[in-house]
């Protein structure tokens, strides 16, 4: 049976800094700033935080938050080292911690200088999860996610006829959404032709298929359901799960490289939430690359394997479509805050506080994480009371 965390935890606070290309603040300062905003948004004070789940591959550890906030008795800390799936996987860990009473209010902070400091190829090379790739594949010429993930997209195109036009549909839609968001980096309109004219990075990925590198911080606070009821606008966590793909350390040996860890997580999270994909009103989907969105929509169960390209056509994932995706602009056009920006956006949607990008009458939404060569995570949330 599925262990159920449904209704036992809620996101009670969110906080974001300005998202920039070029910041004079340290990565730690950025996430402390975001954390303060999240704690204030919840109507709490720093001393109320007794659990910390920092980003495993980031610039700060739990001790940094204990020190800077002067916390006297943190009872739970952990990390979820799953690359871009970390932030949503941390929601599961936090929900376990508050549901069991290990702690009351868990802070999930992240901050980075992805534009101003080290870029992605050197960041992932430093991650222990990449040691197999580093030894056996990097000497031949691959380490960056664009290089490692491009063969997944290529195979999907060859097997199912997925097209660059469909990739462009994702990129153009994310850009259109970003232009509704004052805290999105990319504000210049993008057309399908612009996408096709952008320079090739790793075939089939062009520049506009790839996410941004940016500076910024984001944080959320998660509390147990009873405690959450006393906060400003708690957003209930209905279902949450993580999934690890077969051959998690190296994509090359995976039985089928077009199927992600999310395919294992999705039935668990939907089952826990007691809802189906067709019940979802808004989806914030980890978009490190355009095709990654298409593949995740399949693995989430919105369509069959191979049909994701056709699924995103015709405006379906736009704000006025049947399934609005990445209403904030995503990693592709808002900023790359490892998907914590996606979590914050979902909470806004569930509160009805998403501004010009608000999906009318949004009652059920989801947010995914994807990373670390195929790990997946998924949280399903309901409308704020």
């Amino acid at each position: 049976m599925t262990a159920s965390l449904s209704g036992k935890a809620a996101v009670v606070g969110i906080g974001e800094t300005a998202y920039l290309r070029g910041s004079d603040k340290s990565a730690l300062a950025l996430q402390l700033e975001a954390s303060l905003r999240a704690i204030e948004d919840a109507g709490l004070e720093p001393k109320d935080i007794d659990g910390i789940l920092p980003y495993a591959s980031g610039a700060a550890v739990a001790e940094d938050f204990i020190t800077n906030f002067g916390l006297e008795d943190v009872t739970f800390s952990a990390t979820t080292p799953m690359g871009g799936a970390s932030c949503v996987a941390a929601i599961q860990a936090a929900a376990v911690a508050v549901a069991t009473g290990l702690c009351r209010n868990v802070l999930l902070p992240i901050g980075r200088r992805g534009y101003s400091d080290s870029r992605v190829a050197s960041r992932v090379a430093a991650m222990p999860q990449f040691h197999v790739v580093s030894e056996f594949e990097t000497p031949s010429g691959t380490i960056a996610p664009a290089q490692l993930y491009a063969p997944m997209a290529r195979r999907h195109m060859e097997l199912y006829g997925t097209t660059a036009d469909q990739f462009a549909e994702v990129a153009v839609t994310m850009r259109r959404h970003a232009m509704l968001n004052d805290n999105a980096i990319m504000q210049k309109p993008m057309t399908v032709e612009d996408h096709h004219a952008s320079r090739m990075i790793c075939d089939p990925y062009r520049l506009f298929d790839c996410c941004l590198e940016s500076d910024g911080g984001a944080a959320i606070v998660i509390s147990g359901a009873e405690r959450a009821a006393d906060t400003r606008r708690p957003v209930p966590i209905m279902g949450v799960a993580e999934g690890h793909p077969d051959s998690p350390s190296v994509i090359t040996q995976r039985p089928e490289i077009t199927r992600l860890g999310l395919a294992k997580a999705a039935p668990r999270a939907f089952g826990m939430a007691g809802v189906r994909p067709e019940d979802v009103d808004v989806a914030e989907v980890y978009d490190c690359f355009t095709w990654t969105v298409i593949c995740q929509l399949e693995d989430l169960g919105f369509c069959a394997k191979g049909e994701g390209g056709a699924f995103v056509e015709g405006g379906r994932i736009g704000l006025d479509g049947a399934l609005p995706v990445n209403t904030h602009g995503g990693l592709l056009s808002q900023a790359h805050i490892v998907g914590m920006n996606h979590v914050c956006e979902l909470v806004k949607q569930m509160r009805g506080e998403a501004g010009r990008a608000q999906v009318a009458d949004a009652e059920i939404g989801l947010v995914t994480g994807y990373g670390d060569l195929g790990d997946g995570s998924l949280a399903i949330m309901g409308a704020a009371a």
């Binding site: 010429g141 290089q147 060859e158 090359t252």
Partner: protein, 141 residues
């Protein structure tokens, strides 16, 4: 495909063999593609690691690959993420499914004229890319 893959390139990242992987790297130096085979159940696995995921045996044997396989997927790399490969772009990274049932990722030689497609027949050849570092490459069979 740039022919520069064979040029001396001191900045190319070199592997750091482990106790588990040293026979693989030593085999490449002798221009042999060695694959691990479970010493108990006979399952072939790659890349080298201590345990058979099927029977959990720690007994390790090695077999020599036929070097014949099929193209499983590929990407043409245009952006030099790895500094040591700046002089080689664009190059094609091939994912090759070997006859033995495991896959190998390596650069593809003469990719422009190979007519890349799924299941293209390829063979593995060896090039010494810098002193003491012999790597597998794929080419159309």
């Amino acid at each position: 495909m740039s022919g520069a893959a064979t040029e001396l390139n001191p900045a190319r990242p070199a592997p750091e063999p482990t106790i588990d992987s040293k026979p693989y790297w030593d085999g490449l130096k002798e221009r042999r593609l060695l694959l691990q085979q479970c010493g108990d159940c006979g399952l072939v696995r790659h890349y080298p690691r201590p345990m058979c995921a099927d029977c959990h045996s720690l007994e390790v044997g090695w077999i020599e690959s036929s070097r014949q396989g099929r193209l499983y997927s590929w990407t043409e790399v245009h952006h030099p993420f790895v500094p040591g490969f700046r002089g080689e772009i664009p190059y094609v990274m091939a994912t090759v499914e070997l006859e033995e049932g495991v896959r190998l990722q390596c650069q593809m030689l003469d990719a422009a004229s190979a007519g890349l497609r799924l299941d293209l027949s390829v063979e593995i050849v060896f090039l010494e890319v810098q002193d003491g570092l012999v790597l597998p490459f794929a080419q159309a069979a």
